[in-house]
Symmetry: C2
Subunit: 431 residues, 2 copies
Amino acid sequence: MTILESAKKGLITDEMRQVAIIEEVSPEFIRQGVATGEIVILKNNNHKNVVPVAVGKGLTTKVSASVGMYDSKDSIAGEVEKIVTAISAGADTIMDLSVRGDIDSMRKSTLITTCKPIGTLPLYQAMAEAKMNKGSSLEMTVDDLFEVIERHASDGIDFLALHCGTTMDVVKRAKDEGRLDPLVSFGGARLMGWMIHHNLENPLYENFDRLLQIAYKYDIVLSFADAMRPGCTQDSLIGSQIQEYIILGDLITRARNAGVQVMVKGPGHVPIDQIETTVNIQKSLCKGAPYFVFGPLVTDTAVGYDHISAAIGGAISAYVGADFICYVTPAEHIGLPDKEQVHTGVIAARIAAHAADVANGIEKAIRWDLEMSYARKDLDWEKQIELSIDPDTARKMWTERSDDFSSECTMCGKYCAMKIVSEFLNKKKVG
Amino acid sequence: MTILESAKKGLITDEMRQVAIIEEVSPEFIRQGVATGEIVILKNNNHKNVVPVAVGKGLTTKVSASVGMYDSKDSIAGEVEKIVTAISAGADTIMDLSVRGDIDSMRKSTLITTCKPIGTLPLYQAMAEAKMNKGSSLEMTVDDLFEVIERHASDGIDFLALHCGTTMDVVKRAKDEGRLDPLVSFGGARLMGWMIHHNLENPLYENFDRLLQIAYKYDIVLSFADAMRPGCTQDSLIGSQIQEYIILGDLITRARNAGVQVMVKGPGHVPIDQIETTVNIQKSLCKGAPYFVFGPLVTDTAVGYDHISAAIGGAISAYVGADFICYVTPAEHIGLPDKEQVHTGVIAARIAAHAADVANGIEKAIRWDLEMSYARKDLDWEKQIELSIDPDTARKMWTERSDDFSSECTMCGKYCAMKIVSEFLNKKKVG
């Protein structure tokens, strides 16, 4: 029985109890959310050392960091270093998006590097192997693709990114509606190329029941990837993007009926005024499935600072209902992030997630802010550093800047204005 | 005749024409906004080399960077370097908030370093001089304070930060209502100390007509500072903060009747869910006066990354109606920013301002994003760098990361999936 089936039957599983403790909610709250599909629990039943993570309504907003071998110079050791960096910066999950090299070993290394849930995008490996074995990624067969999906599943991958809703109809709409940039999604674009080359429907859509069987067997969360996410603010909320959600909505019903948990990945680039609509339409069309947003970037111009642009979009998205933020690093649109940029990307996404949690009344988030405010009022620097979102950086900056900074104020001489006002404000009210 | 008086009389001045060109609106649009008080033009009539900047409804969101000698090690040369850094990063105005050293020379250096409008907070200098000449800042007299205000005005300072609304009633409310941290505003707290020590009402409130005479004479914009801005998310939207706005609302009417332009400074720390209410209540109580927000920070925990926390708050604030963003640097809550942190603070605030402008339909902002999107689609890297919010950083990162990155994709072999889909999408629709 899958987690979803248990929830529907009113059964509280160990995973539900575990995540309930972390989230400071009742196991029954988790069970109800899982049963309706508004909460998913990331935990492949073959992933033995995983600490399950819950994503969805009423829970803290989660952050995912993506790594993977993409360039010929990338190595497993280098990517593992990035994973360690991302986890120590506070990422809740890791996605291995390798498109080349020894992807099997990379995945296994990822799984033993951390006990966080892991996601992958199996199409990349299926295409890479078709290239290696048959000379071109276009020679990938449907069986090749499903063999790789099952390989990832049986290895213990907790969530699989799959472009199930990118049907030929959606591709045609993208062509006809004149999107400024339809080729945003690396995997989605290649899948479309395969579909057009063979004049075949999307194999993940056509063989969705086959996918559900694998997902069911390992109790994997399907993470529907949207090939039509907007790649510039101009392309936000146009037909092909929304049509993909409509199709995903149908697949979500089928998945849930089959006992399989689903979440949906989204934007991309979204101007601030369209974020709430984007989240609302996803929640509506995708039947309350947790929303996993990439950024979104609120302007196209913040090259080198896309983590800040994404923090703005991520915070607003999570405030209005998104559940899971895929980090964006300062290297976005330029190249692949180095370790330091991975760190910065995770912290920026965590600030966005936490700010949304505070605004959404998540008690543990509010308590954290409150503790910091008391530490600040008490001028307790050690406590402030400890409570910082990134204590190592806070300590480093504090050490550097405080060397340079005399906290002593010499303005008032004998009578200190600050002392006077402080005494006045703290005096008990009389009469 | 002041700019405001001209606007009320239906006259379009040179300043209105100048800012209209920059803003891509009609001079009449500017005139109407100035007449209602919803737009202010920063330009002291003694500031000869200034390029006026307009702030307010329907215009691009502006960004201000604060510098100033605060620590014994700070020097005029060091602060001038920060000003040059802030201006080259794109700050629209500079505030010199020096509290020590040769403040007169610092101000004059600021005025000759840039042709951007300059703001100051005269109380700092009045208190510093009282300390120097009489042994304590508490020995500052009302005449001392007004003498410094007039000195700043006659030097050409375009906007003066003044805590006019922090009356004894407000201070008492702060005491009684149990704010977590009432001592957030450096100037405001010292002014309160002075008031309590002497048991006197706020001299800026008591002598408001005297202030208006100076502001009128030099056509200065009064920038009402709020001593009761929240210093932690917990203190947002409590009585003393709002009471100060109510009092400022009365003063705004008096200022406008006297032909003096006014804007109002605000938060601070505000959780995302309270930002819209904060902006709406300011706009309502302060009669549409342009809103100059410090940050706001959306969480208290982002030590070392407060520029990101502030970018989130600034973007949302500007989207819902704030007009002017005071930057927050990564050094906030830790110490004084160095040059690099000044740069980062300005860029983060500009990303927030621009993202809000895109969302608010400001045409020049949308055009900028669109040009970037076309450059990206065309893989025109030179154009992308040129259009970046910080071209130098974009170029540096691009050079570093692209060395490390082979853009060549070798996935498909003879038939390229990307080429196939690209050709398909760009083919003209037939039939």
